[in-house]
Symmetry: C2
Subunit: 288 residues, 2 copies
């Protein structure tokens, strides 16, 4: 399968943990010739080039994409639309543009609209994020054995879809196709909501008494690890997926209010029932 | 310091992860002769004896404590009062009774009242819990380098306090004295609240769509790891610390409601401010 794929030139827009790991994976699996990077920090791009993650770079995205058959958006999702607008007239005709963003939904439709004159857009989302960011922990095997969602819409060109799917499979990901709206419901629930909760759990303890954080044990460290994630990135994700996220925050608040009443009135059996149900579901997730 | 401490006979009431680890630590450091266990499951006690964690056991706590100079309550906290009542007339005169429970507050006052005729009670809480339970992962070094809170009240006998402090230090814990009420505020915020949140986060995702849990990544696995903790234990902890917990759940809901409004109205700067503050605080916790 992977033997059929080869790009002479690929552009990675945003050379952070995911962009750099993707570049290293392409190189490791011999899927491309030259990789050109774009990013907002020249110092980071220089280091990426020194380490062989990228082969060249530009500080102007429209110059970076010229001549590339594959362009991958690895910037924070809040920058996707302006970047797509900036690059569209410089794209090689029939280039495939994909992304690694944590939000799909309407963002996919808008990227399709912006890019459709010149290129084929197919959305992607590798489930391999981390609270860590930056190229320091980039890893060519980051996506191996991890799920990667690839979105399919009524506008998706099937050849481009197949190419993006094969590309992720070639670097070890377990590809699953999903509708962009469904993607945002699923990841709004299992990823975006937990991030908001983790951030606000820390801020709540700080509000109660900031000195208490000193007593954090391993439990709190685990629960709040994702609160070390990039504020800029998560600000954008929350706003781009706002309809789902607001609905899910409301559902969560509703459950918390019921548990609060059970705690307050000492409803031992109901509390144990809640916790037992959650434990059984959590034990089923695995990943320890 | 540890050379001064030696108990001919110790009773451990509740031989789970903490009770078994404590027993192994006492033996490893030569702090006791015979360890007698009590527990609710005979099969577990038989295994504990076979593995040399305890030397003997009874299924009746009042028989288990007879002749022991040190008695350690390692049962779920919800059983402390009835167990203390059951053992009090069988305690050796001037025995020291301590515990490892996650709740202190009024529970300490009540244990002091129940036991004061015969013995000296000093509350303890090693910060070494885990979502795991049972003797399978018992470890004599579980408390090494971990904080252990020891409570001091107006009724605490100073010799008993010193003994409990020295005992924990001898097995490697970093002892900190704290008022029982303050203990419950601190751990209500950094431990009890996060447990409730983790349980309800899982239940909320299940409520939204139970099939979504299949898409859990490492972030959700971390955030909800403590939802694998014992429902019985956490039911009791929540109810015993209900006043603080209700107040903290309310504070958390208040913050979530404000964030919900910011998400809904696309208040990017405010969201980024919230997340940035949380990230800075979380990064300060360490423990990764």
């Amino acid at each position: 399968m992977s033997k059929d794929i080869f790009f002479d030139r690929v552009t990675v827009l945003g050379v952070g943990l995911i962009g750099a790991s993707f570049s290293l994976a392409l190189k490791k699996h011999g899927l491309c010739g030259h990789i050109c990077g774009f990013g907002r920090k020249e110092s980071n791009l220089i280091v990426a080039r020194e380490r062989g993650i990228i082969d060249s770079f530009y500080l102007d995205p429209s110059r970076a994409v010229a001549g590339s058959g594959l362009v991958v958006l690895c910037l924070p999702v809040g920058l996707f639309l302006e970047t797509a607008t900036a690059i569209k007239s410089s794209l090689m005709a029939d280039a495939v543009v994909t992304d690694v963003g944590s939000v799909k939904g309407r963002l996919v439709s808008r990227l399709e609209e912006i890019l459709s004159d010149r290129a084929f857009f197919v959305g992607g989302h590798p489930i391999a994020g981390s609270e860590k960011s930056g190229i320091g922990t980039a890893d060519p095997d980051l996506f191996r054995g991890r799920r990667c969602i690839v979105t399919e819409t009524g506008n998706t060109r099937s050849a481009a879809l197949k190419l993006v799917v094969d590309l992720w499979r070639s670097i070890g990901a377990l590809v699953e196709k999903m509708d962009p709206q469904e993607h945002d419901r699923v990841f709004g629930a299992v990823s975006h909501l937990p991030h908001v909760i983790a951030y606000e759990m820390i801020n709540t303890i700080d509000e109660i008494d900031s000195s208490y954080l000193e007593y954090a044990g391993r439990g709190l460290a685990d629960v709040t690890r994702i609160a070390s994630s990039s504020p800029e990135l998560w600000r954008d994700i929350c706003i781009l997926n706002r309809e789902n996220l607001v609905r899910f925050i409301d559902a969560f608040i509703g459950r918390l209010q019921r548990v609060r009443e059970d705690v307050s009135s000492g409803e031992a059996d109901r509390l144990e029932g809640e916790f037992t149900k959650a434990k059984a579901l959590r034990d089923g997730i695995g990943q320890d």
